[in-house]
């Protein structure tokens, strides 16, 4: 091993370090966009929070670097050159005036962001969300002649229109957060909180539980879909309708299994005898993007897997695994659920 190699470090070590740094950078940048990123705002509230975050982070970093630089200078500079650091003027300017000026600017700015964020708007779409271990019950109340209906693990909103979400919890404390659209709001049993926001950009976003609520907290997400007004009204009209009756024998078999297995004692399927209120409303489960509170894409395969292995996929949820179905039964039951568009 020659001197040059020793000074520059071992080649493999440099490669590993470079790759680790590149991976860390890529990982950081990956959080800057996407369906669940506060750094990719899709609404006015999220934009205000984004700028506040940016200013605080960059400002804090600059001040940290400045203080660290001065500290290193105080330690390593020759005594005659660093003497000015101990002077009264330095202490008054750096220790008093600078923090007072910076904080006097940040305080009103932060307060103005608070004032302008989460403002209830007249005529806002009202939605009720109840957090439950580990899923989201979503209710669209009756409004202007339109019927009330429930769905689960999805929030569909019209683009450009204000939305007020009324939240509470059925068991433990959860927290409702859609990073692309606004701030967080706690969901507390016995208490009703409200959060208002407007989606300014059509798209699919992801909401999450932001308060540890149990073993499956990390698997408690929901889809947020911002649709143009006409598409939203069409979706709402479709959701208000009862479930469609199966039109194929295979699906009818699934419907019969759904009834025989007692699924209806926990789940509602409007228009059928299934009227359980314990679990998610399945009237239009087939129209949802995901199942298991945002865990898997919604299709016959994942639905069948979920029914047979619930406790394996998401241990601790209230629904037991129904592992006694045969393959054919499972396929027909999942196909029936998938047909509930």
């Amino acid at each position: 091993m020659d001197l040059k190699t020793t000074r520059q470090g071992l080649p493999w070590r440099r490669t590993v370090t470079t790759r680790a740094a590149a991976f860390a950078c890529a990982l950081s940048l990956a959080g800057c966009s996407g369906v669940q990123s506060a750094l990719d705002p899709a609404g006015g509230d999220a934009l205000r929070i984004y700028w506040l975050t940016l200013i605080m982070t960059l400002g804090g970093t600059l001040i940290f670097l400045l203080v660290t630089g001065v500290l290193l200078y105080a330690i390593f500079a020759p005594p005659e050159r660093r003497a000015w650091l101990g002077g009264r003027r330095t202490i008054v300017v750096g220790g008093l005036a600078f923090p007072i000026v910076v904080l006097s600017g940040l305080l009103p700015y932060g307060l103005i962001v608070m004032r302008d964020t989460d403002v209830p708007m007249p005529g806002a779409l009202q939605v009720e969300v109840i957090g439950e271990q580990y899923w989201w019950r979503v209710k669209y109340p009756e409004e202007g002649g339109k019927s009330e209906f429930s769905t689960a693990n999805e929030l569909i909103v019209p683009v450009g229109s204000p939305v007020t979400v009324t939240v509470t919890s059925a068991d433990v404390i959860h927290s409702f957060w859609i990073p692309n659209l606004g701030g967080k709001i706690d969901m507390i049993p016995g208490r009703i909180n409200r959060l208002s926001f407007t989606a300014e950009r059509p798209g699919i976003y992801r909401g999450v539980c932001a308060e540890f609520c149990g073993d499956q907290h990390a698997r408690m997400a929901f889809d947020v879909v911002a649709l143009e007004r006409t598409a939203f009204e069409a979706w709402r009209a479709a959701q208000e309708k009862p479930a469609r009756e199966p039109d194929l024998p295979f699906l009818s078999r699934g419907r019969a299994l759904f009834r025989a297995a007692g699924c209806g004692s926990c789940h509602v399927v409007r228009g059928t005898e299934a009227d359980g209120a314990f679990g998610p409303d399945l009237t239009h489960v087939g129209s949802r993007r995901t199942i298991g509170a945002g865990q898997f894409p919604n299709n016959i395969g994942t639905l069948a897997g979920w029914i047979a292995n619930t406790q394996h996929i998401k241990p601790g949820v209230r629904m037991p695994s129904y592992g006694s179905f045969t393959g054919e039964e499972l396929r027909s039951l999942a196909a029936y659920l998938e047909s509930l568009k």
């Binding site: 008093l96 006097s104 305080l107 009103p108 307060l111 103005i112 608070m114 004032r115």
Partner: protein, 118 residues
């Protein structure tokens, strides 16, 4: 401690005491009024929460300002032969009351930007 020294120390701490009282009044009164849904009550056309915060802030600012001016005058009047504790107390009084003026203002600002019971 002599009566003169007690007065000096009280003057030095007056800004901090004013801040503490303002803090207690603002938090206590705001919580009570908002909890009892009295936020809409007005006093001379101003919401009662804002009025209480403004009055408490003004009173605290006056006390802190008097403490600042008093400490400043005492410090200016000290001769070359003044005792070290006198010099220290008057200097600390200027600093403490000056900082108290700033934090009392910071404490009062939210009432003029945010809704009363936000």
């Amino acid at each position: 401690m002599s009566g003169r020294r007690t007065g000096q120390v009280l003057l030095m701490l007056a800004g901090l005491i004013a801040w503490a009282v303002q803090f207690t009044v603002i938090y206590g009164v705001t919580s009570t009024l908002c909890g009892r849904e009295w936020a809409d009550v007005t006093l001379l056309g101003v919401g009662i929460v804002h009025a209480v915060v403004a009055l408490a802030t003004l009173a605290a600012l006056i006390v802190a300002a008097l403490s600042f001016l008093g400490s400043w005058r005492i410090h200016g009047g000290l001769g070359e032969t003044a005792a070290a504790p006198d010099r220290f107390i008057s200097q600390a009084g200027i600093l403490i009351s000056g900082l108290s003026l700033v934090v009392i203002l910071w404490q009062g600002i939210p009432a003029f930007i945010l809704p009363a019971c936000a």
